[in-house]
């Protein structure tokens, strides 16, 4: 097809502003699906996506759309809004020539709106702003358009007003896609260059690679080379998702589609790599993109130690469709064999754990997530440490550096006070502020990542009556006065409970932590001392009393079932346990280290 009639675009927005629902509308209005096939957020086809009502993975579809008597081919990528999946957005944008920036008319511009707009601008993409959800009673379409103007320095009149719910404005939006977003400008006769922007594993077809052809073309039967890995494959199938897979003989410059070539594992496909033709290689690859950066790490252990192989299988299977997950085997003194896993953020971590358990039936015990640290040793070497337990002996440590993120907070002007106070408590350094409108402002800070990873978002919400939103981006590592806090359970140091904390808050954290542990670890037949220590200095202690009485004295007649159930109930909710020495530590205890906030008792 002539590139003039092709448009490649992404839909980007803050979480929940209606990207997937707008994508549904595009499918419906183009006739790609019938009203009967229509269901909400059709492209969110993972169970978890449907349950949580969010997009986790970007999805690309192709639709044909008629405008003024001409048929256009529109390649659309619906992206996730959650900050953890920012990386998916950048991937999607690299495959496009333009994007729809969607803004909820009731919420206005929010943190990921800004972040995604920046991202699109950095990728030099044209943007069409879409103010969505105008049907809502609380919608403020004009104000929202003004905010968009302030953000993008484009006139408010350029906004398209839609309701993905009622269908209002969808035709205007389609027209804008065609008239205001550029057509691809590749050279169909040049050496073939196609960007791999996604891949997934399909039980029947093996690895399915999503590509955007920039120059030249690929045909079924062609031998191709991945320019990064240098691997060579033969193309067995090409096609487009419309949204059902529709086969094609070739894909040429400007087109988006899928490619299948007997590739066994997703690992051999590097998203961001360039595909060219074997024998007729392009001289240099497309820019590609940085690999995803894992922001949090935690250890996953099988509940029962015997399930270690099952856990490995489960993680491998999850990784087939989730290139951002990393894992490697580890052996903890306290917990035995498990995996150190890296994630894009807390939501990503939760999702991986849930998938491992649900889709692959393993019981997982998880340690508290930590951010990665860099340690400058006395010998001048710098090492990466992604678990407090791995920190070298303090005698060898020159300094500990922690990851720093640049955080944009969009908050109502009248809550600047509480937000600034919150930032101060979290060791943030103020950068600047910018007014988005008369009553909303963007505050920019640098935070230690560790301070925002867990409960910061909730705190921000309560400091702003629910209106505040945030986005963050890694900017580097910085040394601070950090120490390792060790926890001793029954006089044994439990490496999986160690945390790296700032010296100024270490004592409070230590006390608070063992108070929590005292609640989470159930009473045993013996007394269990708990201690928090920095180096050899114990900074807090607690004791878990021994069980005094736990016996069903009376006979329930012959109702043994009832008796058994009562006993089983004692273990309920403590299912995921790990034995450390003679002490059973439940899953919840490992997560106790996250409870930084809250008052001491």
């Amino acid at each position: 097809m002539d590139q003039k009639y092709i448009r490649n675009f992404s839909i980007i927005a803050h979480i929940d502003h209606g990207k997937s629902t707008l994508a549904d509308r595009v499918l419906l209005t183009s006739g790609a699906i019938t009203l009967r096939e229509f269901r909400d957020q059709l492209l969110d086809d993972m169970d978890l996506e449907r349950e949580r009502g969010i997009t986790i993975k970007a999805s690309a579809v192709t639709v044909e759309y008629k405008l003024d008597g001409r048929t256009y081919m529109l390649n659309m990528i619906d992206t996730p809004g959650h900050v953890d999946f920012h990386y998916e957005v950048s991937r999607a944008l690299a495959a496009c020539d333009g994007a729809l920036l969607v803004v909820d008319a009731a919420q206005g511009v929010e943190a990921q709106t800004v972040a995604n707009a920046h991202l699109a601008r950095k990728s030099k993409l044209d943007l069409v702003p879409v103010v969505n959800k105008i049907d809502l009673p609380a919608a403020r379409p004009e104000d929202t358009a003004m905010e968009v103007e302030a953000l993008m320095h484009t006139p408010a009149e350029d906004c398209i007003f839609t309701s993905a719910k009622t269908g209002a404005g969808i035709d205007d939006m389609m027209r804008a896609v065609i008239e205001r977003l550029p057509a691809p400008r590749g050279n169909p006769d040049a050496h073939t260059k196609a960007l791999i922007f996604d891949s997934k594993y399909d039980d029947y077809r093996g690895v399915v690679v999503y590509i955007r052809v920039f120059d030249g073309r690929v045909n079924v039967g062609d031998k191709i080379r991945m320019m990064g890995t240098q691997e060579v494959y033969q193309v067995t199938e090409l096609g487009k998702f419309m949204p059902r897979a529709v086969q094609a003989d070739s894909l040429s410059a400007g087109e988006v589609g899928f490619l299948i070539a007997n590739i066994r594992t997703v690992k051999s496909v590097h998203v961001g790599d360039t595909i060219t033709l074997f024998g007729k290689e392009a001289p240099d690859p497309l820019p590609g993109y940085r690999p995803p950066q894992q922001m949090v790490f935690c250890d996953l252990y099988p509940g029962p130690t015997t399930q270690f192989p099952e856990l490995r299988d489960a993680l491998e299977k999850v990784q087939l469709n989730d290139a951002a997950l990393t894992f490697q085997p580890i052996n903890s003194d306290a917990l035995g064999f498990g995996f150190r896993c890296g994630f894009l953020g807390m939501l990503h971590m939760e999702i991986v754990q849930e998938r491992a358990e649900r889709e692959h039936g393993v019981e997982v015990v998880q340690t508290a997530p930590t951010v990665p640290y860099q340690v400058l040793k006395k010998d001048g070497k710098v090492i990466e440490v992604d678990s407090a337990g791995d920190l070298p002996d303090p005698n060898y440590v020159e300094e500990i550096r922690e990851p720093i993120v640049r955080v944009d907070l969009i908050v109502p002007t009248d809550s600047i006070g509480p937000v600034m106070q919150l930032a101060e408590e979290r060791r943030a350094s103020y950068q600047h502020q910018e007014h988005l409108s008369a009553d909303r402002v963007i505050l920019t800070y640098e935070f230690p990542l560790a301070e925002i990873i867990y409960d910061f978002y909730d705190k921000l919400k309560s400091a702003t009556r629910g209106y505040g939103t945030m986005d963050y981006e890694m900017i580097g590592f910085r040394a601070d006065s950090l120490v390792k806090l060790d926890i001793l359970v029954n006089n044994n140091k439990v490496d999986a409970l160690s945390v790296i904390v700032h010296r100024d808050t270490a004592e409070r954290r230590g006390r608070r932590l063992i108070q929590r542990l005292r609640k989470e670890i159930s009473r045993h037949l013996f007394e269990i001392p708990l201690q928090a220590a920095i180096g050899s200095k114990v900074i807090a202690r607690e004791t878990i009393k021994a069980v005094g009485k736990n016996v069903t004295a009376k006979c329930y007649g012959g109702d043994i079932t009832r008796k058994r159930k009562l006993l089983e109930k004692q273990k309920e909710g403590k299912k995921r346990m790990k034995m450390v020495g003679n002490v059973e530590i439940p899953q919840k205890a490992f997560m106790a280290v996250l409870e930084v906030g809250g008052d001491e008792e």
Binding site: H524, L525, F526, K549, V551, A553, C555, I560, R564
Partner: protein, 395 residues
């Protein structure tokens, strides 16, 4: 219903010798005690009549499942002695008429419901063991529990049955009653043992949800007795019962040699039995069945010729083993390893190695070449260990 797995593999459900123990539940009481959550209603003669009739029908349907001779029959409740005497007569005749011999034939009696004619009836119907719900000898404690009798009636009940030649009688006592201290418990134990009892059960009071006493607890009108005091009471019972010649044979039970409760031993050895009446449980052919505790539903079903409504389950494999352990470890002598191995084909210590070795290292479980048992100091925290044994299976 039985899960499919057990239908497909009937062999796993075995061994299941025919039941030789019978339990009959009498779901009536004179008045409801304040701590009680057993299924019983305050007696109403017309219902009791229908109930005994229904029982006859349920019994007729199931009696073939019992091996002869019966090793034990246990008529409990509720309060069997709370129904009109002629109905109790019918009920006791019922079990007798269909069996050659009762083996141990126990009736539970409440000291507030006993007179000479009741005692005569028991003897006439061949009852050879009586379990008396004394609970306490302290008037204040009996009041707090909402019992309908006083300590004196317990003494006269003992005399009535003993005078008629029933030597095998036992008392139930409760400790951990709000306000009770060790010395009051010592007096109660002393008075009980002075009666020359053959059997003693000592239960710690538990506050069951929905009972008036639990309401009192929650409203702060009564306080739970301190754990350490309860432990002291328990230890005292063990010591005094031994001194009086009663052997400690189960967590809460003591008996003169040869006077252990044969019926309850059936439960603790996880052997089959048949239970009749609403709320009664049966264990037949590897299947547990508990009749729904609802007299009206029971009557309606049985009078219509149907089985009474019930819930059931069928444990196989390791869950069956764990359940057996849960029961046998309540016995002071513990589990006979050889018997366990011949029943399940595995050594109990190997099958439950992680929990057993852990608690053995803590001195809570004693493992010998022949037996596995709880140590004395573990008895009072037995459920912690039993819960871990059960949890080992669900993993």
């Amino acid at each position: 219903m039985c899960p499919d797995s057990c239908k497909k593999k009937p062999a796993e459900v075995l061994p299941a010798p025919a039941a030789a123990a019978l339990y009959v539940h009498v779901p009536f009481c004179r008045a409801k005690c304040r701590y009680c959550d057993f299924y019983s209603l305050v007696a109403e003669p017309s219902l009791a009549r229908r109930y005994v009739r229904a029982l006859r029908r349920e019994w007729a349907r199931h009696r073939e499942r019992l091996a002869r001779p019966l090793t034990s029959t246990f008529v409990g409740g509720g309060t069997p002695s709370a129904i009109p005497i002629e109905l109790l007569d019918d009920l006791l005749a019922l079990t007798g008429e269909l069996c050659d011999t009762h083996g141990e034939f126990t009736v539970e009696i409440n000291p507030g419901t006993v007179d000479a004619s009741l005692a005569d009836l028991l003897v006439r119907r061949g009852v050879n063991r009586v379990s008396i719900g004394a609970q306490s000898f302290d008037p204040g404690e009996l009041r707090l529990l909402g019992r309908i009798h006083d300590a004196g009636q317990t003494g006269s009940t003992v005399r009535l049955v003993r005078d008629r030649g029933i030597e095998n009688f036992g008392l139930d006592l409760i400790y951990g009653i709000p306000g009770q201290d060790v010395s009051s418990w010592r007096r109660t134990l002393g008075q009980a043992l002075d009666l020359g009892i053959a059997h003693l059960s000592c239960y710690a009071l538990s506050f069951e949800p929905g009972t008036p006493l639990e309401d009192d607890l929650r409203a702060g009108r009564v306080r739970e007795v301190d754990e350490s005091v309860q432990r002291e009471c328990y230890e005292l019972a063990i010591d005094l019962a031994r001194q009086a010649g009663l052997e400690h044979y189960e967590i809460s039970n003591f008996a003169r040699p040869g006077r252990q409760c044969v019926h309850n031993l059936t439960y603790w050895h996880n052997r089959p039995y048949l239970g009749l009446g609403p709320g009664a449980a049966s264990y037949l052919d590897g299947q547990r069945r508990t009749n729904v505790p609802d007299l009206a539903a029971y009557l309606a079903a049985v009078e219509a010729g149907l089985s009474p409504p019930a819930t059931d389950e069928c444990l196989v494999g390791k869950r069956h083993q764990a359940e057996t352990l849960m029961l046998e470890l309540r016995l002071i002598e513990g589990v006979d390893r050889r018997a366990f191995a011949s029943r399940f084909g595995v050594d109990v210590v190997e099958a439950f190695s992680s929990t057993i070795s852990r608690y053995a290292a803590q001195g809570a479980v004693v493992v010998t070449p022949d037996r596995v048992r709880l140590s004395r100091r573990a008895l009072f925290v037995a459920d912690t260990i039993l819960a871990d044994l059960l949890a080992e299976v669900s993993l």
